[in-house]
Amino acid sequence: MSEKKTIPAPLANEGLPPEERGLFCDAAPREYEPARGAWERFLNWARSESLWLLGFGTGCGAIELRPLMTSRFDMYRYGIQPRPTPRQSSVFVIGGYASVKTLKRIVRSYEQMMGPKFVLALGSCTINGGMYWDSYNTIKRIDQYIPVDVYIAGCMPRPEALLAGFQELKRIIKSGGGEGQNEYARNFDWYKANQKKVIKDWNMPDYNW
């Protein structure tokens, strides 16, 4: 349970036409204080053992999630299962290259997830652009736009690599390091500026609740 902090000023939502501003929440994201001690460790354990990932294949890497879900690699045994809506998911697997168009959806979905939330970036493209290093519409590193907890290199990485990535993520969460949500809120202006630099037709609120 976190204490209530001072509430940040509402967002301007300048990307929206005035008549639409009333339709979207304009609250800014806040940092949420973690609980303390053993209780937080227990909760972190629970979070790490119940990783619900957003079933949103943002790129070609999403193809690797299928063998992972099914009998060959069976991620369920690690408490990982897909959820169809960001509201209920806690892990966002960025499935490889992200074009500007996709990035917009990634940001929106990420912001719609409830915290604590974790991002697992899959494939070289998310790290440094990979084979799309000179593309006119593919971003080269995802961590400029949303906080990333674990990268998995490769083009494609094998499902085993993904499993290893999940194990690493679990370790990070258990150690209390999975604070991407708070990082995002803390550096919100920076992230937002980066996002707006590449997403030219910003027609959504500044934070998608």
Binding site: S2, R30, Y32, P34, L43, A46, R47, E49, S50, W52, G55, T70, S71, D74, Y76, R77, G79, Q81, R83, P84, T85, R87, Q88, S90, M114, G115, P116, Q181, W209
Partner: protein, 304 residues
């Protein structure tokens, strides 16, 4: 010995605690059984517990309005209430719950309490998929209620009572007295209806995860989702206990209850693993076809 009112409340809590844990474990074990069918190892049996803890431990949440928050409350209260109106173990004071509030009809209608509240809460979420899911769910509900109602009527006609305790009492004395043995058609109709009621395949179009992201609760998250998950355990338990009482001779002790309900649920999961999903109109037509005829036949058998 008639317990005091305080005692009854205490018993009710114990009973509720038992059914909650049992329901959660049941869900966990069924998920594992499904995994085995698919050639997987499957999640741990206690995974539902972790999920609920995780959901409840989310650090923030969003709300669309008062009714949105009340939806899960209605849902959980509906589940708990339904259970409270059913005697879980025959002859046991501990598991008698508050079944003296009303008979079978009360239970059958109280099932709607949670569904209605949930539908309203989901509606206030403002998400069209919620409404689509509710629309499908209600439409399907009207259909599977027909064989269920027929089979309940057959039971009531057969035993001449609507009192659940009396129905269970009438089935005591061995397998031959169970409704399963005396009126198997009623049981068939009821079990088919149960498939629809529990929303497993082939009647899972309500939540259709890939199409309308899990339907009604699509906007629910955090502890609201946790409540829904808890309810799923309790509500399932309540329905299973009801079925056990009506068709499988009830239970005179907790072990019998566990075995019987496990088997009833197992049938359900078994079918779910074997069939693909039907469209809403297909499932409506299905329920109003053969199962309804079987139900009518069961009523005729009961009357004769």
């Amino acid at each position: 010995m008639e317990p005091t009112i305080i005692g009854r409340i205490g018993y009710a809590f114990v009973s509720l605690f038992v059914i909650t844990n049992y329901g959660l474990l049941l869900i966990g074990s069924m998920a594992r059984i499904s995994a085995k069918v698919q050639g997987r190892v499957g999640q741990p049996v206690w995974q539902p517990y972790i999920d609920i803890v995780k959901s409840s431990a989310k650090r923030n949440s969003i709300g669309h309005g008062a009714m949105f928050y009340l939806g899960p409350v209605f849902r959980l209260a509906g589940g708990v209430g339904t259970y409270m109106f059913i005697p879980a173990v025959f002859g046991s004071v501990l598991f008698r719950n508050f079944s003296d509030s009303g008979d079978l009809l009360l239970v059958m209608y109280f099932i709607f309490f949670g569904q209605l509240g949930m539908a309203l809460g989901a509606g206030e979420g403002g998400h069209p998929y919620s409404a689509i899911g509710v629309s499908r769910g209600l439409a399907q509900m009207t259909a599977f209620e027909v064989p269920f109602a027929l089979s309940v009527i057959a039971v009531a006609a057969q035993y001449g009572t609507l009192d659940i305790n009396a129905i269970v009492a009438a089935q005591q004395g061995g397998f031959a007295h169970w409704t399963l043995a005396t009126n198997p058609l009623a049981v068939i109709a009821a079990i088919v209806a149960f498939l629809g009621m529990s929303g497993h395949n082939p009647f899972s179009v309500v939540i259709a995860p890939q199409e309308i992201p899990i339907g009604p609760p699509t906007e629910y998250q955090s502890n609201l989702l946790g409540m829904l998950q808890t309810n799923r355990a309790i509500f399932n338990g309540a329905k299973l206990v009801l079925y056990m009482n009506l068709y499988f001779g009830g239970a005179t002790n907790i072990v019998a209850m566990v075995i019987k309900t496990f088997l009833i649920y197992f049938v359900n999961v078994f079918v779910g693993q074997a069939f693909p999903r039907l469209r809403t109109d297909q499932s409506i037509r299905f329920f109003l076809g053969a199962p309804t005829l079987v139900g009518i036949a069961s009523v005729i058998i009961a009357v004769i």
